[in-house]
C-alpha cells in the first residue's frame, strides 16, 4: 500500500524532560488511523511536528513523500488539520475565516466554502463573529476549515472536542463517508476510545512519549473484547515491566 504519512525516528524533548522519543510509524493511503494515548503521552506533540507547528530535535515526517522539514509547502499542499484547540480569528466571521484560508488553494471557491459550512451545520451562522460562538460551534468551524481544500490527508487532534452527542455522530459519519467515497487518509487522535473503535481501521498506542504498538482494529478486536481492554492491557504491561 502507498504511504500517505511516514514518521521516522521522531524525537522532541521539552525542558521538563517530557515529549516523544524515537517514534516510527507509517500510515497507508485511505487508512483511518487512530492515535491513542493518555493525557501528556505526546499525541499533540507528534501532531504539531507533523503539521510544522514544531520542529523536532531529531527525525522527520514525510507526507505524500515530501519532508515536512525541507519541503513544507509541497508536504502541506494536500493536508487539512485541527491541532489542539480550534482557534479561528475571533474578530472575523466564519465566512471571513474560511475565505482567508481559501486564498491558499486554487480549487476553493465560494460554493466550496458554503458546502463545507453546510457539512458541519454552520452555514446559517456564517455571518456571525467567532467571538460569539460556543466551543462546539468553534469545533464545527474547525472541521469545516480542515475539509475546505478537499485534502487527501486529514490530521485531526481531538476532532470531537466540545461537540454534543448529535455532533459527535455527525462528524463520525462525515469521516467514514469521506474515507469511503474519496479514499481520504485520516490521522485522528482522541481520548474517546469507543469513538476510535467505531471510526478507525488502524490504531497506534503512545505512552510516555513512546509508541507501544500499531495494529489493525480488526486484529485487536479478535484478541480483546474491546479497544478499551486492549488499551488497558498494553498500558498495564508497560507499567509493570
Amino acid at each position: 500500500m502507498d504511504k500517505a504519512i511516514v514518521i521516522e525516528n521522531l524525537t522532541k524533548r521539552y525542558k521538563n524532560n517530557r515529549g516523544i522519543s524515537g517514534i516510527h510509524l507509517e500510515v497507508g493511503k485511505g487508512e483511518i488511523f487512530g492515535f491513542l494515548g493518555p493525557n501528556g503521552a505526546g499525541k499533540t506533540t507528534a501532531m504539531k511536528i507533523m503539521t510544522g507547528l514544531m520542529k523536532p530535535d531529531d527525525g522527520d515526517v514525510k507526507i505524500n513523500g515530501f519532508s515536512i522539514l525541507n519541503q513544507y509547502e509541497q508536504a502541506m499542499a494536500n493536508v487539512g488539520c485541527i491541532i489542539e484547540h480550534v482557534t479561528p480569528y475571533p474578530y472575523l466571521t466564519a465566512y471571513e475565516n474560511m475565505k482567508m484560508c481559501a486564498r491558499y488553494y486554487d480549487n476553493v471557491d465560494e460554493k466550496r466554502i458554503d458546502e463545507c459550512l453546510e457539512m458541519t451545520g454552520m452555514l446559517r451562522f456564517k455571518k456571525e463573529r467567532i467571538k460569539n460562538y460556543s466551543l462546539g460551534m468553534r469545533q464545527r468551524l474547525g472541521i469545516s476549515l480542515a475539509f475546505l481544500s478537499d485534502p487527501a490527508i486529514l490530521i485531526l487532534d481531538e476532532p470531537l472536542n466540545g461537540l454534543d452527542v448529535e455532533g459527535m455522530v455527525e462528524i463520525r459519519k462525515l469521516i467514514l463517508e469521506t474515507a469511503e467515497k474519496k479514499g481520504t487518509t485520516f490521522f485522528i487522535s482522541s481520548h474517546l476510545i469507543h469513538d476510535v473503535e467505531l471510526t478507525c481501521n488502524k490504531v497506534g498506542l503512545i505512552y510516555n512519549g513512546k509508541l507501544l504498538g500499531v495494529d489493525s482494529t480488526e486484529d485487536i478486536l479478535k484478541n480483546y473484547s474491546s479497544l478499551e481492554n486492549y488499551y488497558l492491557s498494553e498500558v498495564d504491561e508497560v507499567e509493570h515491566a
Partner: protein
Amino acid sequence: MLKAAYLNELFKISKKKKIMVAAILSIAAILIGGLIVSSVNNFIGINLTGKSEFSIMVLSVLCYTLIPLFTMFVCVDMFTGELADHTIKQTLTRPVSRLKIFSAKTLAAATFILANLLFVMIVSILVSFVIGATSLSLWKVLLAYIAEFFPLMVFALLVIFISNIMHGTPSAFLISLVLYLAFLAFSAVFGDYDSFFFTSLFDWYTLFLGSYINFYKIFRVLLILIGCGMMFFAAGYYLYDRRDV
C-alpha cells in the same frame, strides 16, 4: 502564496478596531494643530507656518508620537498577539512557508505605515488650506512623507524582532515602548553618537527640504537605515522560523 498571505494580513489589519481609533486620533491631532496655528496667526498676529510648513510641522510631531505608537500596536498584534492567542495556527498549517508568512506580515506592516503617512499627509494638506497662506510646495511635502517611511519601517522591523522574543502582547508592547523612549533619550544626551540610535533619524526628511541638499549625508543615512533594517529582518525571521507554536 506570498500574495495570499499578504492579502490576508491586510484584511486582518483592516478589520481591527485599532485602525479606526488610529484614524480618529490622527485627525484629532491634526485638527488641534491646525486650530492652534490658525489662532496664533489670526489673534496674535504671528505667522507660525505656511501651508506646506503646516504639513511638515504635523509630520515632525506625529513621526515621534502617534505614528510609531500605531506601528507598534499593529506589529505586536500581528506577531506576539497571534502567537499568544494561537490564531497563528490557522495560517501556519496552510501550504505556505514561514518565510513567506513572515515576509507577508512585514509587507503588511510597511503598507500600514505608508497608508498612515498618506492619510496624515492628505488630512494635513486639507487643514492647511483653511489656515494662513504662503506658497504651497506639495512636492516638498510629498518628499518629506516618503522619506519618513524608511526610519519608520526600520522601527517596525525592530518591534517585529522584539515581538518574536516576547511571549505576551503587553510585555512585547512595553519593551518596544521602553526601548523606543530609551533610544530617544540616548540620542538626545549623546548627540555625537545619535547615528547609532536610528530613532534620531526620524527627522532625516529635513535633509531634503533645505535649499542645499547634502547627497553624501542622505546616502550615508540611507545606508545606516538599510543596514539596521536588514539586521532586524534577519534576526526577526530567525526567531519566527524557530518558534514552536
